[in-house]
Symmetry: C2
Subunit: 206 residues, 2 copies
């Protein structure tokens, strides 16, 4: 009986904080952000509210930390796999993104709402994550990879790829709530094909 | 001197309320929604705060009414023109949408944030407007119009057209803030072409 407790107390504060954030993200998968209180986390983690306030300051900072962690999780989980084929790498990342939203639907919708809402800190966190996700597409493809699609990296192309990502977000959240008869693989194939098209149809930039 | 005052008092309450909402939307064009207070509207309209509270109840209801009115304005201003060519009708509507965002950038961004945020009434108002805008595309094109693009009206096609509209919203708001060297006409042509492509690449639905 003393082993788990001993293991827990051996964690340094940073690791303990990360563990609590992981629990926060997990709790968020079936809840709105508004319903994720310090009280709930304290109860689920079996520690005092006082200690949680010590780690997170206040509810707003706690929510920001959870959103930051969820964004980091999303970036990590969709990281490109080691496959020589660009199309395969894209499909695998899209598949993992879709799985992430499927498993965290309510929390993800709540995150996206918080991220698009009026709170500027939340917006910034998510905007940064979206930026990282689209920048990674260019890093992963590389100049040669883009060239196979007849695409050159310009600000206009980045703008269109960013817009594609926003579109994917909308389609995926909507599809998880109501698939309207569309199969999972067909959805992924469509979204992947639209990326190339969005990049290819970018307007010329002076 | 008595004429404008006389003209004003002759307005029935409904017309007066509409006039005040019009002023609210106008004030919003250069302000965030948060900055649009009953006090400011009272000052600009030259009437008492008490009378405004009589019309709008409270700040939240006032904001909802302004957002509702802005959404109605957006739907009205982008209404399809009377041109036999589908492509022309689409380009004119897109052009007017872009002009609307150009002239109301700050207020529009604030509206979109409120609409995507956590307030469910705001979300519903804007979601309805988005739904009306995309439904109108199908009504305007008609079955024959869709057929010229090889498109049949299915839930999956509606999902993709809805996603296209979200993409347009993102691109336009971004482009107005920073055109990244892209010309206005090129942007409009790209967005128009992407609608057909989005509809055509809808996944099959069972």
């Amino acid at each position: 009986m003393s082993v788990p407790s001993g293991a827990r107390t051996r964690l340094d504060p940073e690791a303990r904080r990360e563990q609590l954030l992981g629990l926060g993200v997990e709790l968020l998968s079936t809840r709105d952000l508004d319903e994720l209180s310090i009280d709930l986390l304290a109860e689920k983690a079996g520690i005092s509210r006082g200690l949680l306030y010590h780690y997170f300051g206040n509810k707003q900072e706690f929510h920001e930390a959870v959103v930051r962690r969820a964004a980091a999780d999303l970036i990590a989980v969709t990281a490109p796999v080691d496959d020589p084929d660009l199309g395969t790498r894209l499909l695998v990342s899209l598949d993992r993104y879709l799985a992430f939203v499927e498993h965290n639907h309510r929390g993800y919708v709540s995150l996206v709402r918080a991220a698009n809402g009026s709170n500027s800190v939340m917006r910034e966190i998510y905007e940064e994550a979206r930026g990282a996700l689209t920048d990674r597409i260019f890093d992963t493809a590389g100049t040669d990879g883009l060239a196979t699609f007849g695409v050159v990296d310009t600000p206009a192309v980045r703008m269109m790829v960013r817009a594609w990502a926003v579109m994917v977000e909308d389609v995926v959240v909507r599809w998880v709530a109501d698939p309207v008869g569309v199969g999972r693989d067909d959805l992924l194939a469509t979204l992947a094909a639209m990326l190339a098209h969005a990049a290819q149809s970018a307007p010329p930039s002076a």
